[in-house]
C-alpha cells in the first residue's frame, strides 16, 4: 500500500495548473513549427509564428498564454493500492486548483449557477474530475486547462447504425465547418465514438489528453484520424479562420463498444492552446 499525503497532492496540482497555462507543450509547439513549413497562406504563416512567439512570452514571463485559463479538467488514474491520507482525491484536486489559479494570477472563470450566473466563491473551481480505478499503487493525474470558446463549438449527435462511417465523418466535418474562426483554429479535434450519450462525450475529451501527433493504436482508426485531418485542412478555414491550409493540427479518436441500436458521436474541439500536463506519483 502506497500512502500519499493530501497536502502533497494540493501542492503538486497547484503547480500543474500553472505549468499548463504558462508552458505550452513541446508537442504543440512542434506542430506549429511543422505547420509554418506547409502553410501556403502568408497571413496564416504569420499567425502561426505569432502563436510560437506568444508561447515563448508566456514561458519566459510566467504569464498565461491565453486569458481564458479555462475550466480545469482532470483524468485521474488511481491505483487500488494507493491511499490518500488526510482527505479525498477530489477535494485535494479542487484545493490545488484554487491555490494554483489564485497564486498564479490565472483567471477565475467559473460561475456557481449557470442560470443566475453567480460567480463561484471558490476560485476557478470546482474542477471537472474523472477518476479511473487501476491495478497497482500508482497515482497519475492528467490535467487540461480547457477554454470556453472552443468548448462552445463542440457537439454531440446520436447517429444510428445506418448512418455508418460516412455519417460519422459528415457530422465531424460539419462541426468543424460550423465552428469556423470561433474555436480559435488551428484546432485539435477530439472525437468520441460509441459508449452511450455521456460516455462518448467523455471519450472525446479523453482523446484530447493524448500528445499531439500520437495516433490511435488501431491502424484503421489511425487512418480515419489522418483522413479526417486531410479533409479539414482542405476546407480552407486556416489559422484563425482567415484562410489557409492549417485548420487542424491534430485529430484524435477514442472508441468504445455501444448498443446495437446506437452510434453516438461527440466532437470536442480544442483551440490551438492545447494545454495538457501529467503528474505521476
Amino acid at each position: 500500500m502506497k500512502v500519499i499525503a493530501y497536502d502533497h497532492i494540493v501542492e503538486q496540482v497547484a503547480k500543474l495548473c500553472q505549468e499548463a497555462n504558462f508552458d505550452l507543450g513541446e508537442d504543440v509547439i512542434s506542430a506549429f513549427r511543422q505547420a509554418v513549413e506547409t502553410e501556403r497562406s502568408p497571413i496564416g504563416k504569420d499567425i502561426l509564428l505569432d502563436l510560437i512567439e506568444n508561447a515563448n512570452i508566456a514561458t519566459e514571463n510566467r504569464v498565461p498564454m491565453c486569458q481564458d485559463t479555462g475550466v480545469s479538467v482532470f483524468i485521474v488514474e488511481l491505483g487500488q493500492d494507493c491511499l490518500i491520507k488526510g482527505g479525498t482525491i477530489t477535494s485535494a484536486i479542487n484545493e490545488g486548483v484554487m491555490k494554483g489559479y489564485k497564486d498564479g494570477y490565472l483567471r477565475h472563470s467559473i460561475v456557481n449557477n449557470p442560470l443566475t450566473r453567480d460567480k463561484s466563491e471558490t476560485y476557478n473551481s470546482p474542477a471537472i474530475i474523472h477518476i479511473e480505478m487501476k491495478a497497482g499503487d500508482q497515482l497519475v493525474i492528467h490535467m487540461s486547462a480547457k477554454g470556453g470558446g472552443s468548448e462552445n463549438m463542440s457537439a454531440l449527435k446520436m447517429l444510428t447504425p445506418a448512418d455508418g462511417i460516412e455519417g460519422v465523418k459528415e457530422f465531424i466535418l460539419t462541426t468543424v465547418e460550423n465552428a469556423g474562426p470561433n474555436a480559435c483554429p488551428p484546432l485539435v479535434v477530439g472525437i468520441g465514438i460509441g459508449g452511450n450519450f455521456e460516455r462518448c462525450a467523455y471519450l472525446a475529451k479523453k482523446s484530447l489528453f493524448r500528445p499531439i501527433g500520437q495516433h490511435h493504436q488501431s491502424p484503421i482508426v489511425a487512418q480515419l484520424e489522418k483522413d479526417l485531418m486531410k479533409n479539414m485542412n482542405e476546407m480552407g478555414i486556416g489559422p484563425q479562420g482567415l484562410g489557409g491550409d492549417t485548420t487542424a493540427i491534430d485529430v484524435k479518436i477514442e472508441l468504445e463498444p455501444c448498443h446495437i441500436a446506437a452510434l453516438p458521436v461527440a466532437v470536442n474541439l480544442n483551440c490551438h492552446a492545447s494545454r495538457h500536463k501529467e503528474l505521476r506519483m
Partner: protein, 188 residues
C-alpha cells in the same frame, strides 16, 4: 504585410475607408466589455439610463483579462468569441459605438447594423493573450468593478494589431479570405 496605423478615435472618413482584410494597428483608448458587462450596458440603454462610460465614438474590445501580476499593467488579454455579444451589439451601435474587436463570426443582424451605422468589426488573434497584452500601456476599471475580469476597463493601447473583418460596406473577410485562399490554392 503593411499595417495601416489607426489613431483612436477615428474620423468618419477614416472608418468608412477601412476595408475587410486590411491589417491595422490601433493606438489610443479602447474599452473592454464581454458578456456580463454587455448585459448591464444593454439593460441600462433599454431603460434609458446612463451608461457609466461614453459609448459615443468608442471602440470596445471583447476581453476578460487575467489578473495583473504586481509588475504588470494588465494580465493576458486576448479576444473572446464575439458572437456571444451579437444580441446586444445593434443597440450599442445605435448609441454611437464605432468599433468592436473580438474574434469569430457575427450574425446577419449585426452585419446589417454595422453597415447601417457605418462602423467596423476587427479581429485580434485568439489565444495570444500574452503577446497582445504587450501592446497595452495602461488599464483602469471604469465601470462594473463587481464583475471582476468582466468589468469595463479603459485601456491605452499602442500599435495593437488587428484585422478588419467586417467593414462599413458589410464585406465579411471570414467569407472572402477563405474563398480567395481556395481559389489561389487551386492554381498552386
Amino acid at each position: 504585410m503593411e499595417k495601416k496605423q489607426l489613431s483612436l478615435p477615428l474620423k468618419p472618413e477614416e472608418l468608412e475607408t477601412l476595408r475587410a482584410g486590411q491589417q491595422v494597428e490601433l493606438t489610443g483608448l479602447i474599452y473592454t466589455a464581454r458578456d456580463a458587462a454587455h448585459k448591464k450596458i444593454y439593460d441600462l440603454l433599454s431603460q434609458q439610463e446612463t451608461v457609466p462610460f461614453t459609448l459615443e465614438n468608442a471602440f470596445i474590445y471583447y476581453v476578460g483579462p487575467t489578473p495583473a501580476k504586481p509588475n504588470q499593467v494588465i494580465g493576458s488579454a486576448g479576444p473572446t468569441t464575439s458572437s456571444r455579444m451579437d444580441k446586444y451589439t445593434p443597440l450599442l451601435l445605435e448609441h454611437g459605438l464605432k468599433g468592436m474587436i473580438g474574434k469569430g463570426y457575427r450574425n446577419e443582424e449585426v452585419k446589417e447594423s454595422i453597415k447601417r451605422n457605418k462602423v467596423v468589426y476587427l479581429a485580434a488573434i485568439g489565444g495570444t493573450g500574452a503577446l497582445l497584452s504587450t501592446a497595452i500601456r495602461e488599464a483602469e476599471v471604469v465601470a462594473f468593478p463587481e464583475l471582476g475580469p468582466e468589468a469595463v476597463y479603459r485601456l491605452t493601447v499602442e500599435h495593437f494589431p488587428a484585422t478588419v473583418i467586417i467593414d462599413s460596406l458589410g464585406n465579411d473577410w471570414y467569407i472572402q479570405a477563405r474563398e480567395k485562399f481556395q481559389q489561389e490554392r487551386s492554381t498552386l
